[in-house]
Symmetry: C2
């Protein structure tokens, strides 16, 4: 693969990523991807034979990048509270840079649930629970976190960080009337969510 070929393929991939995230699979146009990549439609099909294949390539890589970003949560040597903060910080930083990405992923996964399985396929999931239990067994016991409550807690944490970006237009519209600024709200989000979550967990101690 020559240097030029790599450049072109990268240019196409980046343009496709932008357009797909902005417009979704249905709304995206091959012509627009070609335009943004600074090439023509013929060359676009020269590299990626179809819209479907191009989309699959984009989606797979994006999803894997996101997963990789949060892997440290499972091997960092942190307390439970530090780990919660670390996750909120990572997720928020990431979405500040790519605010439209979460909605894009939720959408396309909803349109084709099989995609999740393809991405998770190569992940060693069997150990995740064990790892968490080994690292935080004492805290889990103290706060009565078991296989029934852990999913509730984990989805709550994901929800608290992701939802504000997914519902941004609605939240902004309401905030506007309340005199609240969205960016300031986001700046305080990591601190608030960490305290909120950890307090809720701590209060489970009898």
């Amino acid at each position: 693969m020559t240097e030029l070929e790599k450049q072109t393929e990268e240019k196409i991939f980046e343009a496709a990523t932008d357009v797909f995230i902005e417009k979704g699979m249905d709304g995206a146009r091959m012509q627009e991807i070609a335009d943004r990549a600074g090439i023509n439609k013929a060359l676009l099909h020269y590299y990626y034979r179809s819209k479907e294949k191009l989309f699959d390539a984009v989606f797979t890589i994006i999803a894997k990048q996101m997963l990789k970003r949060f892997a440290p949560v499972f091997d960092e040597n942190l307390t439970l509270e530090e780990k919660i903060r670390f996750y909120y910080q990572q997720q928020t930083d990431f979405m500040k840079r790519s605010p439209r990405l979460p909605l894009f992923i939720l959408n396309e996964v909803s349109r084709n649930p099989q995609r999740v399985k393809n991405v998770l396929k190569h992940m060693d999931h069997t150990n995740l629970l064990k790892i968490l239990e080994e690292q935080h067994g004492d805290e889990f016991a103290r706060y009565k976190i078991n296989r029934e409550t852990l999913p509730q807690i984990m989805t709550s944490i994901a929800a608290m960080s992701i939802f504000p970006f997914v519902a941004k237009p609605i939240i902004e519209a309401i905030f506007e009337k309340f005199g609240t600024n969205f960016n300031e709200y986001i700046e305080r989000r990591v601190d608030f969510a960490t305290a909120f979550t950890y307090n809720a967990i701590k209060s489970r101690e009898k």
Copy 2:
């Protein structure tokens, strides 16, 4: 407007609602709406002159119905904890019946943020903050809830109830590997979220 006309218009509206929620504005096809309504395309345009107008009608009514459903939160004579539970219960019941609706709304609002403003336009928002402060002034003081933390708390509550349905395919895929069942998880969601939220708020008391 005759009885038959009403029936037809209703049939069209319901079919359009289903298709738009399933496929979104971009993915929806006028032919499919006509088919599901049991009529033909010509008649469809006889009632709604364009896809755009049909979509606007559907979206506006759906959004207003959702808003109306949560209005009682502001006038029910309940404690803060009861009110939180009431909201979670309403929202969850609603989404159990229309699981695809939240993602649909988030999507279309993201594609056209102006829509939120049109829906909120006719709402008396100025009083909402005052009403809450009058009803729960003592609790707000005790738990140090002010104009800065209230938005954080409210978005957290919305997030905890809505997100599981929006991210259902992802959550299901992960749960499958963890041996957790999504429906059981949802059955326990209202209780968990209420306790989680209220404990987090209570712990703000020094």
